[in-house]
Assembly symmetry: C2
Homo-oligomer: 310 residues x 2
Amino acid sequence: MTGESRGQRIVALAGGVGGARLVDGLDRTLPAGALTVVVNTGDDFQHWGLRISPDLDTVMYTLAGLSPEERGWGIDGDTFHVLAEAERRGAAGWFQLGDRDLVTHLRRTKGLAGGRTLTEVTTSLCRTLGVERTLLPMSDVPRPTVIETPDGRRIPFQNWLVRERTGPAVAQVHYEGRPDATATVRDALRGADLVIICPSNPYVSIDPILTLDGIAPLLREKQVIAVSPLIGGRAVKGPLAKMVAQIDADEPTSAWVAAHYGDVLDGLLVHPGDAFTTDLPLLETNILIQDRRDRVALAESLLDFARINR
Amino acid sequence: MTGESRGQRIVALAGGVGGARLVDGLDRTLPAGALTVVVNTGDDFQHWGLRISPDLDTVMYTLAGLSPEERGWGIDGDTFHVLAEAERRGAAGWFQLGDRDLVTHLRRTKGLAGGRTLTEVTTSLCRTLGVERTLLPMSDVPRPTVIETPDGRRIPFQNWLVRERTGPAVAQVHYEGRPDATATVRDALRGADLVIICPSNPYVSIDPILTLDGIAPLLREKQVIAVSPLIGGRAVKGPLAKMVAQIDADEPTSAWVAAHYGDVLDGLLVHPGDAFTTDLPLLETNILIQDRRDRVALAESLLDFARINR
């Protein structure tokens, strides 16, 4: 525990697996009540009539200690009997819904159908799984991320990511629906002493949060530190590197990350060898999270760096 | 195949396991297109936010050859991983939802939420499972069976049957909601040459159908043959025997069955030794279905008896 982080209020903005792992490190480093996690819901979609929130689930399962170390998503040791039966009956089985995982989606769907908000449902899911950190969906209203290809085709994000395996080139990313952050999210950011942008994909995990009404102006008043999702010109996970080339015709470097977040940013953690010339405070440190100890080490480095540059 | 049943249109009214077994015998006996099954939906309920139709599922799984021979309900060899996880998270696990079974409820729930009727959803579920017989829910609108105890408590049927294991005494059975049979069901009955009342519980499987608007008058114009659900003063399965004592203060005999159905009935199959003095045509024959051959034998006896008494 970083002594001086006592009493500090920290908000982490997170997407899926990469974000979840840093959040887990922060969870193990920070005292109770210090950390609030705002999670991207741009990936949310419906499948089999169920309401699925992939990033919320990944963060929740990771904090609950249920995530498989390697794969990152879903529940470790989960079985797939329901999926096998659905496929046997002709369903498209492109989204891997595990049997234990399914309970989360059933409960979320039932809660939302009964008029509860996604924020309320998430709190209740977390409580049942023993997750004590505050996990906040960025919004209680749908804000689906949509991928637009160079020929103008618009593909819902999960279809592009999972079903089409990020094959179609990306010309542009759209955030549809209403840009409403919840009051709870705005309050958490307003009260934050430090905001951490996790090493998640900026286009599809972080920007959906940053583009919500009122969020970017709020962040400009705060100390905001990001961890680069790129190492040596490659994404740690996922399609980010090729998206940088396709969308911005740029190189997937830490300099691109800094330029992308622009004046929101007050500091950036980059991997050794990835530093670049800039006025922005940089910390060169190991940002590749390979095991649980790396998660804590990265969290501690980040909190120290934030304190020094406050 | 009973030669003379060619071209005949037969409608069977069925509840759960007992009904499903006779229907399976009829299915193996009658030519394609000859049999329509009208199934009780009074047991239908919501659980985990899912729309569950226990009797439709039992008949469908039985015709698909998926039912466990012994247990009667659910899918043979099904696993219960989702249920185990739900219980681990504190859910009441009183209703045994199997993993493969769950796919049925997910699809039904999604179909109904999308505006399709229960009749349409049932047809689609049957097609996917290779069931070619026409299976009709008695109604497309909810018509929940409710058990009233002597002290005036009203218990939804599945709660009473499964959760409370038929413990509370029954003063009366109510059929709530709107008494609307579908036009499809009315047309099937109007065109029927023979109507079979399966050996299901009269109070909670058959009466929900008979009490729908216009059904009883239609049946009085038809040849209606029932198979007694009672053998030697006991129910083959379920709580019928004690319900007869509790509700009607009567003995659970074949005579009670005949009196209960009254002028709707044109003949009754009873177990050897269960005949009684009556003007109603009776057939004493083995009505205890123990294996698949018994199903076919009973169906053949019934069709012969119906032909002789036409």
